[in-house]
């Protein structure tokens, strides 16, 4: 997709290539790569690095009948897999897979102010969720205890740093306080991976935080 201005960092791409990221971040990276030729090409570079590491491995001893048993696993001729049709909605395939469909299949929960969220995955304090911010509205101001990776899927938002539209990613860590505001005209949907719970600054959201799980 053209027009992506905010690209994903090399260390996240390399972590994804190496298979070292938490699952929630894998999802955001895979979804972003689906939308960006640039990220796809850079990822391929990091995977080549993995290929060289593999080529340079010292050889392990195999079981005696290793090849025979592998051949036995292969029944007949190569399997022709059907080509996966590109997604026509706003969710690329890796996201559509975990949601079980496109935008209309999301099970939203209200955040009270018109904003909504849908928790997709959580493990060891690392979560992936979809956020829905109505046009013109702000996400509650928050700092970060850990890191947060946001990918815009629909609409656009602005914060203190810049404007972010479909395909753009924004990375934030504990040093960053930002207030994303959805642009007028279109509601904004983002996919967000967070490595720890966010700490809201406003009093009410802080009280609500344990209950809404953001």
């Amino acid at each position: 997709m053209n027009g992506i201005k905010h690209h994903i960092s090399d260390d996240l791409l390399m972590g994804y290539a190496a298979g070292a990221l938490p699952q929630a971040f894998d999802l955001v990276v895979a979804t972003h790569v689906s939308l960006s030729d640039d990220a796809r090409a850079r990822l391929a570079g990091f995977e080549e690095l993995g290929g060289v590491v593999l080529s340079d491995m010292e050889e392990a001893d195999l079981a005696e009948d290793s090849l025979e048993r592998t051949l036995a696993r292969i029944a007949g001729t190569p399997v022709r897999e059907k080509r996966v049709e590109p997604s026509r909605g706003i969710f690329p395939e890796p996201l559509r897979k975990i949601v079980g469909g496109d935008e209309d299949a999301v099970k939203w929960r209200s955040l009270g102010t018109g904003a909504r969220q849908s928790l997709l995955h959580i493990e060891d304090g690392v979560s992936a969720r979809l956020l829905y911010i109505p046009a013109g509205q702000a996400m509650p101001e928050h700092g970060h205890r850990g890191m947060e990776l946001t990918l815009v899927l629909k609409g656009a938002y602005r914060d203190e740093t810049d404007r972010f539209a479909r395909g753009d990613v924004e990375f934030a860590d504990e040093d960053m306080d930002h207030t994303p505001i959805a642009e007028d005209g279109e509601d904004c949907i983002c996919l967000v991976a967070t490595d720890q719970r966010l700490r809201f600054k406003g009093l009410l959201p802080r009280i609500a935080q344990p209950f809404i799980g953001i």
Binding site: D10, D11, L12, L13, M14, G15, A18, G19, A20, L21, Q23, D26, A30, T31, V33, S34, D37, D38, A41, R42, A44, G45, F46, E47, E48, L49, G50, G51, V52, V53, L54, S55, D56, M57, E58, E59, A60, D61, L62, A63, S66, L67, R69, T70, L71, R73, I74, T77, P78, V79, E81, R83, V84, E85, P86, S87, P92, E93, P94, L95
Partner: protein, 214 residues
Amino acid sequence: MFNDHAEQVAAAGGFVPISLGPRPCRAAHDGTVTPTEKTELHWVACVTAIAKDGDKASFARLFRHFAPRVKAFLIKSGADESLAEECMQDVMATIWQKAHLYDASRASVATWIFTIARNRKIDLLRRYARPEPEALPWGPEGEPDQADVMALQQDIERLAAAIRQLPEKQRILIERAYFGELTHSEIAAETGLPLGTIKSRIRLALERLRHAMN
């Protein structure tokens, strides 16, 4: 002989024109590669023979080279001997089954195998199906352009050479990253490796593919 004309001109004491077009390349002329020319191209030819003819001899050749390395990679990544053997057979069987999906203008064979092994490792050791980027809707359907294949495989050989020349410490750091021993924030991507060249090459291949499909 393609240089007859130049020889005649030279013999006549004339000016020999210097071609600015693509360098003469044997592989590009008749659409085939000579497997013994380059190791990388040898593996490409093996995968192609599996995809086209279900060639078991080619598979055995790939197996003898890659199976011990895949198994070593899995052991280094934390699998025990029997799990690594089992998982390696699975990876090698997948290579047979997915041979027709391999695109030599976008990755080396070692890299393609690395990605299959990495995904299987995440399946088994971390117990989740890793989210993968959406497959490209435009390719690889026909034969990739042989000049593209040659160029990419040469870039990859350059990358491999660069890694082998790295100081021991840095090389070990890269290996550890790909064995999953480092968290993503510990992975420093600034190694001065010629990854940019590969990125440009793959971008070019993506653009050509896209153009061919439109």
